[in-house]
Symmetry: C2
């Protein structure tokens, strides 16, 4: 009984601290289970909001927000699906306000929006799922970045890395998209479980995956103060070039030397890959084309460079295609048919073809999503360093 | 110009995907900077919600929610402070709905609520801040937990751990509170920066800090399906004892063996500490009192055991106080005067004193908060293994 009182007190404390001021909500609410995934792969979502007038589910597996219904305890709910097995971002629209699911720990790290993640399991565990195989580790490292700032890298090391102290590994530098953070390939992309499972199946070479933060300017603003991050929707061409160069400088002069002196890497371009999604794909193409002597494996996921930029900045790539083709052991371009970058990416492929620059491509259904970019990682991780 | 169009497209995509359905919000919004910390330690918070009727700031440095004011661009804002330097949870109350700050990457990992974090810097960098000192790393490890599940541990290794391959370290097992996750001591508690800074100043011994997840049952529910997590506000005494025992079993039989076989630890009770906040403090006391041969250093942050539980479960602790006092190199109890657990914690101290069980205590201002528990970690980390 005493413990039960204590439990009640503890619950109250948490709720009073964070929800006590929410209009119409009792200080102690019922325990809300959400998302609640059923055996048939339908999912019930729940959200406690007795005073709300309208609550909808906004999920990337639905074309439009789905209305939810309130029960007598003030919990809004909806059962949707069956949903095709995958990991999807979602949020609730509560009287028009976007909120994460308070009952769900799994979230989408991002600078500009907050979303929760729902993971619909496959009948057999999907390649991005936690399976009963040897697991690598994911380490947050602090490294000296540009302008005296300290950056964070998220680094996957393959299973057994700490035990096989004489073995060295190739490295894949893997960059997330616009407004994503260095955590997004880990938390949303599941790069670690994808590699664990592919390595266990003998389909991918054991490798280190280094996930940097793409927005150097935001880090400088945070640590140095006074500098406000530039508005990406309002930047000029010159600013975009400075940003791309900042990223390249940080990766080439700070990140790679740090990784190669602190991890057991195999040096040299044949054991160094670079890839990225969206803005990270642009950073990949610019960094790789500007440093072809440093990377033999290049993966662009839902990104491209324009013909004017190719002509201005990287003419040698297409003017000497035989050299490019000889240097690049893998040049990969992927995009979805519903991606808003589909047409320019196809245009980029056409440009490369017209210049006899070879590349592999995978065109999928779907849009500019992390469901797609995980597919691209799964496909390319099986080709790298092989 | 082309790049600028691309930037606009990229911004639109993100906003359309996640905010496009928000009533009254334009598909492309202005860039919102929040929180915006000024030199005088006042802070401007901003939240874009053109259609909202009322927005308030709910922050743990304010006694009550603070009204915000909307400008012509639909951004609500308020400038508060100066605020005493520390890291505080906060959220916005938007027409009564609690939301995280979409513009802020820094968040509070928790099972039941979602809050953002604002870090008010000191005039000289606080002990929990990123300073220009050698940094340890923080690693997410996957280990075999109870009932065939796979658990996650967040593990701090001190600066130079990977280079000093012949050196072994003592280990502090550090547990977070009710509804917290294995990430909370890292992301909110800043255990890594606290240790980095104390080690650099020669005030703490280099040590490994292992941060487990306290809610074994939730993990089993998630991975095994069918089992719903118990409602902590509705649990019975018997259930509470099962839960405490599950945690102890997982720590003693799964976590510690995993850590000691995968990290360079110094084995034995003299080099093994256990501590925790709130529920984690209760788990600490129960695990330590039940395994006094395994831990010589015990830290309870804002937690206690009741006299009935001491009498029922741990009589040897107070029946042979000389043995307890000889075995425990540090027995630490902390609580804040505004903590809702203040009185029972003082009662626990009185009980121990009446039985001649020695302990150190630090009573602070403030409540059951992470501002306080960071203070307790800072105080105790300087005593461990010394």
């Amino acid at each position: 009984m005493f413990k039960r009182l204590l439990s009640l007190l503890l619950m109250n404390s948490v709720i009073l601290s964070f929800c006590g001021s929410v209009a119409g909500q009792p200080p102690r609410g019922p325990l809300v289970i959400s998302p609640d995934i059923h055996a048939d792969k339908s999912v019930t979502f729940r959200y406690l909001a007795p005073a709300a007038k309208e609550v909808k589910l906004s999920a990337q597996f639905e074309k439009a927000p789905v209305p939810m219904v309130k029960d007598s305890s003030g919990i809004w709910r909806v059962r949707v699906g069956p949903v095709s097995p995958d990991i999807y971002p979602y949020s609730f629209l509560v009287d028009g306000i976007t909120v994460m699911d308070p009952a769900n720990v799994s979230f989408f790290p991002n600078e500009r929006f907050k979303a929760s993640l729902v993971d619909i399991p496959g009948d057999t565990a999907l390649i991005h799922s936690l399976r009963d195989v040897p697991h690598g580790a994911v380490t947050y490292e602090y490294y000296p970045s540009l302008a005296g700032t300290t950056g964070t890298l998220v680094i996957y090391t393959p299973p057994g890395y700490d035990k096989q102290t004489a073995v060295h590994f190739p490295v894949y530098y893997l960059i997330s998209g616009t407004t994503d953070t260095e955590e997004t390939w880990f938390k949303v992309g599941r790069a670690n479980f994808i590699l664990d499972n592919l390595i266990a199946a003998g389909k991918a070479k054991p490798m280190i995956v280094v996930m940097p933060y793409g927005n150097i300017e935001a880090r400088m603003a945070e640590q140095k103060g006074g500098i406000k991050p530039a508005d990406p929707s309002n930047r000029e061409g010159a600013d975009a070039i400075v940003r791309a160069k900042n990223f390249e400088n940080d990766l080439m002069k700070q990140v790679i030397p740090y990784v190669e002196s602190n991890y057991r890497t195999i040096p040299g371009r044949n054991n160094r890959a670079i890839g990225g999604f969206s803005r990270g794909g642009g950073q990949t193409l610019r960094t790789a084309f500007g440093n072809l002597d440093q990377f033999a494996w290049v993966c662009s996921y839902a990104s491209y460079l324009s013909t004017p930029e190719m002509e201005r900045s990287f003419p040698s790539i297409y003017e000497t295609p035989d050299n490019t083709n000889r240097m690049l052991k893998l040049f990969w371009i992927s995009v979805g048919t519903d991606d808003f970058l589909y047409k320019p990416t196809i245009g980029f492929m056409d440009f490369l073809r017209s210049k006899n620059v070879r590349f592999n491509s995978l065109i999928t259904d779907g849009g500019h999503t992390w469901m797609n970019t995980r597919k691209y990682l799964i496909a390319t991780a099986q080709l790298l360093f092989q």
